[in-house]
């Protein structure tokens, strides 16, 4: 019985998870294309520019990405044998890119010309942290940087 429930959860996880991943990646790539005109770097200072900096402002973006049962199952099998945890790679990648996009969205709304000093933090939520004992792990990516606007 429990085996059947597990099989159902893993199957749902696989189909729902891969569908969500596909649509999310399509959306990520589309928005990243829209933001190609907003330079985002991890340089400490803005590159040399004849214009004067009008203002600088902290901007940030957050995204929490859940792990489905299929990925969890594959990952727990992977834990037995070791090796690349490829089941989680796309989750991390999507969380980081989604958070970056949100930060860029914030900067765009403020009218920034570029973002410098980009930093990325990750944390896991659930799965033994944040007071949850047996929760499913989720991955949080937190991206922050300095938005700069030139005087024009």
């Amino acid at each position: 019985m429990e085996l059947l429930i597990l099989a159902i959860m893993v199957t749902i996880g696989y189909f729902a998870g891969s569908h969500a991943e596909k649509t999310h990646y399509a959306s990520i790539i589309e928005r990243e294309k829209a933001f190609t005109k907003l330079p985002t770097t991890n340089l400490k200072h803005p590159p040399q520019d004849p214009r004067e900096v009008e203002w600088a402002q902290l901007v940030n973006g957050n995204a929490v990405m859940a792990v489905d049962y299929f990925k969890l199952f594959v990952a727990s099998l992977r834990n037995m044998f070791g090796g690349r945890m490829s089941a989680y790679e796309s989750v991390i990648d999507r969380a980081r890119r989604e958070a970056t996009l949100r930060m860029q969205e914030m900067a765009r709304k403020q009218g920034a010309d570029m973002i410098i000093n980009l930093r990325i933090e990750t944390a896991s939520i659930g799965g033994g942290t944040a007071g949850q004992k047996n929760g499913l792990p989720s991955i949080e990516a937190m991206v922050y940087g300095t938005a700069v606007r030139y005087r024009r």
Binding site: E2, I29, K37, M80, F81, M114
Partner: protein, 298 residues
């Protein structure tokens, strides 16, 4: 430094995500897990084959505590108690024949269980469980003794422990691998409780051989040995016999094997003896107790 806008890479060119299909990895890992489990299972199975012949009788009786509720049900009513006692006398006689040296004679117990199914089981701890349905359809003492001797053969050969050992191995294996109370150990415990004690063909014919030898030792002839199985073969479709058929090989096959054995050993076949008075009285009482012949089990 000049800023040159660049488009993001396509999804298939993402360097941060492995390009292989998730199902591919899933299947490889699952295959690896199955391989590891099979290997450990095989090794522990070998360990069981080594442990079973060397198991301490005290450890065995400790194991039997799992089945205590079942044995207590068998002892519940006074009518089955007298029946158990009558069967115990028969069993003790068989034991005396098999182990003439009293110091080496093991303590085995027989219990009568009120149940309309026709079956007898060998349980850990040296217990034989006889269902009253077996008594009800028996016509002679000889055939009853043969069935008893057959189950005794399982106990002497420790087949019951071997059958249990596999489930026990699975139980310990699952507990060690996945921690306490996981679905695999739950399943293993269920199978321990459900007494899936079906023996191999070789174990069954070895038990049959011992039963036959004891029958000849007691009565001086092999009459009645095949009667029970001949009846079983005829009434194969009857639901009462279903339980025996699921735990034992096909009766026709056993009749043929037994007849070949009887011929090989040149055993005589003489008329059988009717059931003893004590068992008959018990039969009448249990039918009185249970007039429709309906099972008391739920």
């Amino acid at each position: 430094m000049v800023f040159v806008p660049k488009e993001p890479p396509a999804a298939t060119e993402n360097v941060n995500v492995s390009p292989n299909h998730p199902l591919h990895e899933f299947l490889i890992l699952l295959g690896g897990l199955a391989g590891v489990l099979f290997l450990v299972w095989l090794l522990l199975g070998l360990a069981v084959d080594w442990i079973v012949p060397n198991l301490d009788p005290r450890a065995e009786s400790q194991l039997a505590t799992i089945y205590r509720p079942l044995l207590e049900v068998g002892d519940a009513s006074p009518t089955t108690q007298t029946g158990s006692r009558a069967l115990q006398i028969e069993l003790d006689q068989l034991l005396a024949l098999q182990f003439p040296d009293k110091a080496k004679r093991p303590a085995y117990f027989v219990h009568l269980h009120s149940d309309e199914d026709v079956n007898a089981l060998a349980l850990p701890g040296g217990h034989i469980l006889v269902l009253s349905g077996l008594l009800a359809q028996a016509e002679s003492e000889n055939e009853l003794l043969f069935v008893l001797g057959h189950e005794l053969g399982h106990l002497i050969h420790r087949d019951h422990l071997r059958g249990l050992g596999r489930s026990l191995v699975m139980y310990t294996l699952a507990n060690a691998l996945f921690g306490n109370q996981n679905f695999v150990s739950g399943m293993a415990e269920n199978s321990l409780r459900n007494l899936q004690l079906s023996f191999s063909r070789g174990q069954e014919s070895a038990a049959d051989q011992l039963g036959l030898a004891l029958l000849v030792k007691k009565y001086g002839h092999a009459g009645g040995a095949t009667v029970f199985f001949e009846r079983l073969a005829k009434q194969e479709k009857s639901p009462r016999f279903l339980s025996y058929l699921t735990t034992h090989p096909h009766p026709q096959e056993r009749v043929e094997q037994l007849q070949a054995l009887i011929q090989a050993q040149a055993y005589a076949i003489k008329p059988t003896q009717p059931l003893s008075k004590a068992l008959k009285a018990n039969l009448a009482a249990s039918q009185e107790h249970n007039p429709d012949g309906q099972s008391e089990k739920d």
